[in-house]
Amino acid sequence: MRRRFDEHGNPDLRGRVAEYGDAMRKRLRWLGPIATGLVLLVVILSGTYSVDPGEVGVVRTFGKLSGRSEPGLHFAFPIVQRVDVVDLAKIQRLEIGFRTEGEGAVKMVPAEAQMLTGDENIVEAQMIVQYQIADPEKYLFKLADPEATLRVAAEVALRSVVGTKKITSSVEELKPPQEVQEISDAQVEPEVPVETGPAASASASAAASASAAPPVKPPPAPAKPKPKASEQEIDEENDILTKGRERAEAETKALLVELMDLYESGLRITEVKLRPVDVPDEVKDAFHDVVRAREEREQLINKALGYREDRIPRARGEAQKVLRSAEAYKRERVLRAQGEAAAFAAVLAEYKKAKGVTRDRLHLEVMERILANVGRKVFIDGDVADKAVPVLPLGNMVAPGPGATP
């Protein structure tokens, strides 16, 4: 720019100002549209938003719900419109009673986890709730802070349900193994009918009225265990520590869903997972001891069953031995009788043909054998015998008597 001076040699300020004004005006002619463009750009940029797949944009115009926007790029007027983009697909997770601290490490929160059961015991329950936003309008407009509400409602539901549950406090009725049942049934069987002689039965009939009564006793026994079993079943299903957990889970979910619907949360509870319920550390040892005691019970029973396994087959073997030997005796006895009978019959048949001769022969043969075997024989003549026999020195027969030679 050239330096210009007025007639006094002073710089031409006025002219320069006017000139500057002109230049400014010239520039501003451009500036106007540029500014407008910039403002527009800002408006467009600040009003543009995108909705990702699985999300939905809820648009409020002047505060009133005016529509939803589907996934894609959208525009909303700043100030007059408000858009909340809500993720409908994402399943979110809420932990009750514990917190996951990276790498799968889980830390229990006792204040949240410990709760009372219906029988005034204290247990530790932990739960995972999975949920997603199902109704974005309700989620945004009906309930202040739905997530916090869900957490509290989940605690309420869990504690209410656990409050109706119990932990087993009675010794579980033993469900005996099949074998034990069979043994117990078998004990009726051995009442073997023993053939009693007429004398015995006569005396028995006298006492019949007294002895007949006991055998009728068994029938009332099977009726008793029935109600006991069903009662126990209910107990077991209410046992929050064991079988009752699944039911508690379902009940908690139902109650939580009911609460969240009541609060118009717009949340859908997809899953409620109750982690294994435990007891506080203070009493854990005692609970473990019960488990051990149950195992010991099983052990004792198994040992007894083992004893049985050992004894009964042995007894059966023994019984077989006794029986077989008796059978052998019987068989032997009969066979021998048959043999002897056959021999006798044969001899008899021959004897019948010649009675006298046979008889003499048999007699003589036997006598011959006897006399041949006997070491000492004394023969007394018939006439002497009548007088001599009474005085024979029977005690000392070594000295030969009179007529000792045949």
Binding site: L140, V171, A286, E296, L362, R376
Partner: protein
């Protein structure tokens, strides 16, 4: 030209101010009360655009959504004189914004009033219930009746009570100790029970086994005796049948047999020569003499 520019600017500014002060956006989540110098003019419950007289009227926003009021946990005495720590939570919403605004003013105040109501109702209800009722299955109905009564009382604040729930129900620290002691004692009882049951069952099985064993053996002995008896009987029958054909001959044969068996080597036989055997020793007889 400058003045004109300023004028336009001023008009724009004033216009904007008027616009801002006369236009009200009513959100989905709120009611708006239009007041003129504190005097209620009208209530807007429909969301959207609404207008008011600028400067003289103002808009009061009142929350429409369901709100929570978390009363502090307090110790209560149940009917059976047990102490319980209960932490209630109340959900409520404004249904009559004007009543709400005039009677309680804002949410904090409202929450305080509601908590007072809940605590007193809860105290009353708990004093009528036993601990086990409270903890257990009666909790739902009890809280429903508490809700009902709080709801009635809260109506005058323009508030609707959605529900009153027990967030946490615990025992005071000192009582917890005794509960743990009781739980331990209970488990000890169970453990003893199981052990005794095992012993009982074991003894039962063992004794039944012993019994069965004896029965098996006795039964076998009985059958064995019967078998032996049968054998003897059959043998006897066989003998009787065959010997019965000629009893005299049998006696004869059997006697001979017996003689032979009973007379041993050491025996001394004194015989008369007149005996049958030796009758030929002295003289020969006639044929057929031996026949009886």
């Amino acid at each position: 030209m400058k003045a004109r520019g300023l004028g336009i600017a001023a008009i724009v500014v004033v216009g904007l101010l008027l616009l801002v002060s006369s236009v009200v956006f009513v959100d989905e989540t709120e009611y708006v009360l239009i007041l003129q110098f504190g005097e209620h003019k009208h209530t807007v419950s429909e969301p959207g655009l609404t207008f008011k007289v600028p400067f003289t009227q103002n808009a009061i926003r009142v929350e429409k959504r369901i709100l929570a009021s978390d009363a502090p946990a307090e110790e209560y005495l149940t009917q059976d004189k047990k102490r319980l720590l209960a932490d209630p939570i109340t959900r409520w919403r404004v249904v009559d914004p004007l009543k709400f605004y005039t009677s309680v003013g804002n949410e904090e105040q409202a929450a305080r009033r509601i908590d007072d109501l809940v605590l007193s109702e809860l105290r009353e209800e708990l004093a009528r219930r036993t601990m086990s009722e409270m903890v257990g299955s009666k909790r739902g109905p009890m809280m429903a009746s508490v809700t009902e009564r709080v709801r009635e009382n809260a109506q005058s604040y323009g508030i609707e009570i959605v529900d009153v729930r027990i967030k946490a129900l615990d025992l005071p620290q000192e009582v917890q100790r005794s509960v743990f002691d009781r739980m331990v004692a209970e488990r000890e009882r169970l453990a003893k029970g199981y052990r005794a049951q095992g012993q009982e069952e074991s003894d039962k099985i063992t004794s039944l086994t012993d019994r069965e064993q004896k029965i098996i053996l006795a039964d076998a002995t009985r059958q064995a005796d019967k078998l032996r008896g049968d054998g003897d009987a059959q043998a006897t029958k066989i003998y009787a049948e065959v010997y019965g054909q000629d009893p005299e001959f049998y006696t004869f044969v059997r006697s001979l047999e017996a003689y032979e068996k009973s007379v041993g080597k050491d025996a001394t036989i004194v015989m008369s020569t007149r005996s049958q055997l030796f009758r030929y020793l002295s003289k020969p007889g006639k044929p057929g003499a031996a026949v009886d």
